[in-house]
């Protein structure tokens, strides 16, 4: 057989062999046997030397034709095999996706931390600076400068914790602060107005039962500047309530009484369960009082407080509020933890839920 027909038969053989190759690996094997350095095509090319010069162009053309044919066949078969393997992909690589995932150990942030973060973020957006002042503080900061004289009930032994230390000459006894309002005095003593702070800290009161823990957290806001009015207090707390509880919630101010603010308010937020109507399923809503939930106290900073901190009460006015972190959080989530002490028992089965 002459070389030309051998090239032609090689192409025919390639067609057959490629058709038989059933995998990418087999295909590669065939490719090497045909087109490799020591493959069949190379073997035939080697024999080109023996061909006479006159026949060489024709043989050369046959060689090229064979090479191209083989290349095209190879590519076609490669695509065919690829398509086949994609068709089988689902079967070949089946896994049981309903098996559980491999989990990293999951940690959690305490409810109080989550609440503090959420609350702080809202006030930071209004340009408040987050601060923290001492938990163990003098009478002066915790009471006296807040317009709470020694006869005030909060200063009784059965309300507030006292520290065993000799009293300071000018600032009095050391107490565990029962509110974050001591932060108002520190802030105004240290910083000249304008002041916009939110003080979030631990507070202590001599109470422990299902609704009280002796250690809890409060957030205290204080704004003092020229021309601050009740309207600003209302706007700020309205903003907070909508951001924190949701845009459909409303607040209302009810007159109240605190020594260090005048006027003082109780801030109520509309009940999320009865929608502020006070009735659910034709009965009294058990969660709220006539459609409203008490959030906490607020008021315009008492001029005596400003004066006690060396701020000119004729030039500056301000407002303040101090609310319980835990209580506010419970009200938001609608979470009913029957015993608030659970929060600080640290059972991991409780902690891991949040």
């Amino acid at each position: 057989m002459d070389l030309i027909s051998e090239f032609e038969s090689l192409a025919a053989r390639a067609q057959h062999e490629l058709q038989v190759a059933a995998s990418q690996e087999a295909l590669e094997h065939v490719e090497i046997s045909l087109l490799g350095r020591k493959g069949a095509l190379a073997g035939l090319m080697e024999r080109m030397k023996e061909v006479s010069a006159a026949d060489r162009p024709a043989v050369g053309q046959a060689a090229n034709r064979a090479k191209q044919q083989i290349g095209a066949l190879l590519e076609a078969r490669r695509l065919e095999l690829r398509a086949l393997s994609r068709e089988r992909l689902a079967d070949d690589e089946w896994i049981d996706v309903t098996q559980p995932g491999v989990q990293e150990p999951r940690g959690s942030l305490h409810l109080t931390t989550q609440a503090v973060k959420e609350i702080a973020d809202i006030f930071v957006r209004l340009g408040f600076t987050r601060v923290r002042y001492p938990e163990i503080d003098f009478d002066h900061f915790a009471f006296e400068a807040l317009n709470m004289p020694p006869t005030h009930p909060a200063r009784d032994d059965w309300e507030t914790f006292f520290i065993d230390a000799s009293p300071h000459k000018t600032w009095g006894r050391l107490v565990l602060t029962p509110h974050t309002s001591n932060g108002q005095i520190h802030e105004l003593t240290k910083h000249k107005p304008p002041v916009r702070m939110v003080n979030i800290a631990k507070c202590y009161r001599r109470q422990i039962d299902v609704t009280h823990v002796p250690m809890f957290h409060q957030f205290e806001g204080l704004v003092v500047d020229h021309g601050i009015s009740v309207a600003h207090l209302k706007g700020t707390l309205d903003f907070f309530a909508r951001e924190y509880f949701g845009p459909d919630r409303r607040i209302r101010l009810r007159p109240h009484h605190f020594r260090f603010t005048e006027p003082s308010f109780e801030i109520d937020v509309s009940c999320g369960l009865c929608g502020g109507t006070g009735t659910r399923d034709d009965a009294h809503c058990r969660t709220c009082k006539q459609g409203w939930l008490e959030l906490g106290g607020a008021g315009m900073v008492h001029p005596n407080v400003l004066r006690a901190c060396g701020v000119d009460a004729k030039k500056y006015t301000g407002f303040a509020f101090g609310w319980g972190v835990e209580r506010t959080y419970m009200m938001k989530s609608g979470m009913s933890i029957p015993d608030i002490r659970e929060l600080y028992k640290n059972d991991v089965r409780f902690l891991v839920q949040f």
Binding site: G107, F161, L176, R206, V230, G235, H257, Q290, L343
Partner: protein
């Protein structure tokens, strides 16, 4: 403080111009928060007046009767167990569908047509306590209500709904008054408020006048500071008995139990006018009454049956023999009014608020009077109260006033303040016309004098304690103008350039870090006790103590987070064999520069029964990640000379960076674990947050990404079992500059290595900054490293 207000009673003072709901809303918004609205008598809707027409014996039960009862529409058969039931009697008939509580106790049940021992019964004849009227008509054992006898003033007719027949229906507000407004804890106080918020107008009333009596009740006030006014009236020839039905109804509707006409009158006056009163049995008072401070150790037997030993600073009313009353708190048992009483001395006085509060707290003796007095009452209040009481006396108990005393320090002078109306607008954020402001104030009893912006305002006597200056007038104007009418504005003015608190932000980051590394966050109390500290070897006498702890569990401010954390572990271990918890909180150290120190700490703990030290390495890995994240570098220092005694002697490390001590990492000493009842092992990492924040690198240095590939080789060294990774790694890293990292990936102990030997396998990585390394270069470096390790540590390369 909450009190109940009867609208029926209120309407004796005012004409309401709005609905009950609107009144509740206006009162709430202006200050007297109406927390609940009760419909009194609504529960008695299906209880009617019945007339018993016939009574027969029950065929199958001796204790029961079969009654024929006229219900107004017809006659029905009702089986009744009341021993006093007889024909002709008017009774309370509970129709099927009504709710009663059997024998006055337990859950309410619905009445149904039923069969009792073989006889059909269509309803129930009730005793007073079965339908909630036990206070109005005290129940007698096994007896049903004989309405005709109980309330002779009522014209009884069968079929009338009982609530209507007895005029029981009323709307009762549960009002929360703030501590500065005791005047709101009375009917007249709420009436004034209702008028001020335009919900009502006052009715014309002729107020009671005190009679003119020459004779004086013998009273000496020794402490005029604590008792600025004491009024007393003696009434002789009184008849003690049950109060008339209308008076009892009023009391019952606001939750006060009727006792007898004299006591009921004192309660009635207190509720109506907000001035507490007391009545002594004049026959039981020996000699003259004296208002004085108690003597130390003096005994007092209170009306409620309790006994008290007084201290020497409590205000009492005493006769020549004993203490007759604890001023403003409670009367004494010996001089209380009884059925035998014929002469009474009524007291209407003003006592010092703080003295009343302190005595009540010290003795744990509380009463409705004390709750009012401790808020501060006016010296102007007693005269109206006494006059009203005497007026009611004439109507309800008879007798004649024979003596009257008014002991007071000085004539009353109303408080006056100057006020500038032009300040209001900028303070409340809205411009209220001056006329409106003045009208608001005068509607509440303030007298405004002066025509311009500046005025003089006289405070009504019932507000003398809570009004202290001009901001109070602003409040009165604002609350009556309506806080809901004030606009909402956000105070966005010039920015406040304050540096953020690095520690606060550090704490927040630490919390996120540990929570995202699988730790649960705990919050434990800041106070512990000495025992807990002793168990953790942490007790020191200089610890910060609480003078008045709530319990023996919480007596000192904790100097460390460790004991609380060990408590958390001990408490969780029974149901969680392994776990990881952390806490970020303050510790409290002794006074420096006047104040105890409050220092921020973070503690992370892992626990498990595994004693191999695996938790140590797990926590060390977490700590290393923290150090890397915060740019602190490798801070672990093993210092055999400076061991923490509360940690395992060989499983502890200090964390120090740039000369700053950050804290410790280690396993808790088994002795301490034992004392906390912990069975497994606990590893902790305890860090000083302030120190950590001080060395934290928030901005990190840039290192170019390598442009040439590295070459990796693995090698295993056989070394003595006590060889440390720290030392060997140090040698490797300093043996050749081309070595960029040596990462331990396996530690192996096996018999084939020989006794006291272990194998430590490393991934070595070689790299040059300026070229691709050639094989011979790496071979040479590798050789140098192996040689250096062999020389320094006697290592053999494991084949």
């Amino acid at each position: 403080m909450n009190n109940l207000l009867s609208l029926h009673w209120l309407q004796e003072w005012v004409h309401l111009s709005v609905s009950h709901e609107e009144l509740a809303r206006r009162l709430s918004l202006s200050g007297a928060g109406v927390e609940r609205v009760h419909e009194f008598g609504a529960a008695l809707d299906k209880i009617v007046v019945g007339r018993v027409t016939a009574v027969e014996k029950h065929p199958n039960a001796d204790a029961l009767r079969v009654c024929r009862v006229d219900d107004g529409c017809g006659v029905r058969t009702v089986v009744c167990g009341g021993s006093n039931v007889r024909a002709g009697m008017f009774v309370a008939l509970a129709l099927p569908g009504s709710r009663v509580s059997w024998h006055g106790t337990g859950e309410q049940v619905e009445i149904k047509e039923t069969e009792l021992r073989g006889v059909k019964s269509a309803g129930m004849i009730c005793a007073s306590n079965e339908i909630g009227l036990g206070e109005l008509f005290p129940a007698t054992e096994r007896e049903i209500m004989d309405l005709g006898a109980l309330a002779q003033e009522v014209k009884w007719r069968a079929g009338v709904v009982l609530s209507d027949a007895l005029h029981l229906r009323d709307t009762v507000f549960d009002i929360e008054a703030t501590s500065n407004r005791p005047d709101l804890m009375s009917v007249v106080g709420v009436a004034r408020e209702a008028v001020a918020c335009s919900a009502a107008t006052f009715l014309k009333r002729t107020s009671a006048k005190l009679p003119r009596v020459k004779q004086k009740v013998s009273i000496t006030v020794r402490d005029k500071k604590l008792c600025p006014r004491y009024m007393a009236a003696r009434v002789d020839g009184v008849q003690v008995g049950t109060s008339p039905l209308w008076l009892r109804q009023r009391l019952v509707r606001v939750g006060v139990r009727p006792i007898n006409n004299i006591v009921d009158i004192t309660n009635y006056v207190r509720i109506e006018l907000g001035q507490p009163m007391h009545a002594f049995d004049a026959a039981c008072v020996r000699g003259a009454l004296t208002v004085r401070r108690s003597r130390d150790g003096e005994k007092f037997f209170a009306l409620d049956g309790t006994q008290h030993t007084l201290r020497n600073d409590m205000l009492v009313i005493a006769d020549d023999a004993q203490v007759c009353a604890l001023a403003g708190i409670m009367g004494g048992a010996a001089s209380g009014v009884t059925e035998q009483t014929t002469s009474v001395i009524f007291e209407a006085a003003t006592f010092d608020a703080i003295a009343v509060r302190k005595a009540a707290r010290a003795l744990q003796l509380f009463s409705d009077s004390q709750l009012l007095f401790e808020k501060g009452l006016s010296v102007q209040a007693p005269q109206d109260a006494l006059a009203r009481a005497l007026e009611l006396m004439r109507a309800c108990a008879g007798g004649a006033v024979t003596a009257l005393t008014d002991a007071r320090v000085s004539a009353y002078r109303a408080k006056k303040f100057a006020f500038d109306f032009s300040r209001v607008a900028s303070f409340i954020g809205v411009d209220v016309p001056a006329v409106r402001m003045k009208k608001i104030l005068s509607s509440m009893g303030f007298v405004v004098q002066g025509s311009g912006a500046r005025a003089q305002i006289t405070v009504p006597w019932w507000r003398e304690h809570d009004i202290g200056g001009s901001v109070d007038f602003i409040e009165e104007i604002a609350r009556m103008y309506g806080y809901h009418n004030i606009p909402s504005l956000v105070p966005l003015q010039q920015p406040i350039g304050r540096e953020r608190d690095a520690i606060l932000f550090g704490e927040a980051d630490l919390r996120t870090f540990f929570a995202s590394h699988g730790f649960q966050e705990a919050y434990t109390y800041s106070f512990v006790n000495e025992d807990l500290l002793t168990r953790a070897n942490l007790f020191d006498t200089s610890v910060v103590r609480i003078t008045n702890p709530l319990s023996s569990e919480f007596t000192v401010m904790r100097p460390s987070l460790l004991p609380s954390m060990l408590q958390v572990v001990a408490q969780n271990e029974p149901h969680a064999l392994t776990g990881a918890v952390f806490e970020v909180s303050h510790v409290y150290l002794p006074v420096v520069n006047d104040r105890p120190q409050e220092l921020p700490r973070v503690i992370a703990a892992r626990w498990s029964p595994d004693a191999s030290g695996a938790d140590f390495f797990a926590l060390k890995g977490t700590a290393k990640q923290l150090c890397d994240a915060w740019g602190v570098g490798d801070a672990f220092v093993r210092d055999e000379k400076k061991r923490e005694p509360h940690l395992h002697p060989s499983r502890q490390l200090a964390l120090v960076t740039r000369g700053v001590s950050l804290g410790v990492l280690g396993e808790i000493h088994p002795d301490i674990l034992e004392r906390f009842g912990i069975r497994g092992r606990v590893t902790i990492c305890y860090l000083d947050v302030a120190a950590l924040c001080a060395v934290r690198m928030c901005v990190k240095a840039y290192v170019p990404v390598p442009s040439f590939p590295s070459v990796k080789r693995d090698v295993a060294f056989v070394v003595s079992a006590r060889e440390t990774h720290g030392a060997l790694h140090h040698t490797l890293m300093h043996a050749h500059p081309l070595l960029t990292s040596a990462e331990l990936f396996d530690v192996y102990r096996g018999a084939e290595l020989g006794r006291g030997k272990k194998s430590m396998a490393f991934h070595l990585e070689f790299r040059a900054q300026d070229r691709t390394l050639t094989a011979p270069e790496v071979d040479a470096a590798f050789h140098m490293i192996v040689t250096a390790a062999g020389k320094k540590h006697g290592t053999i390369v494991r084949a």
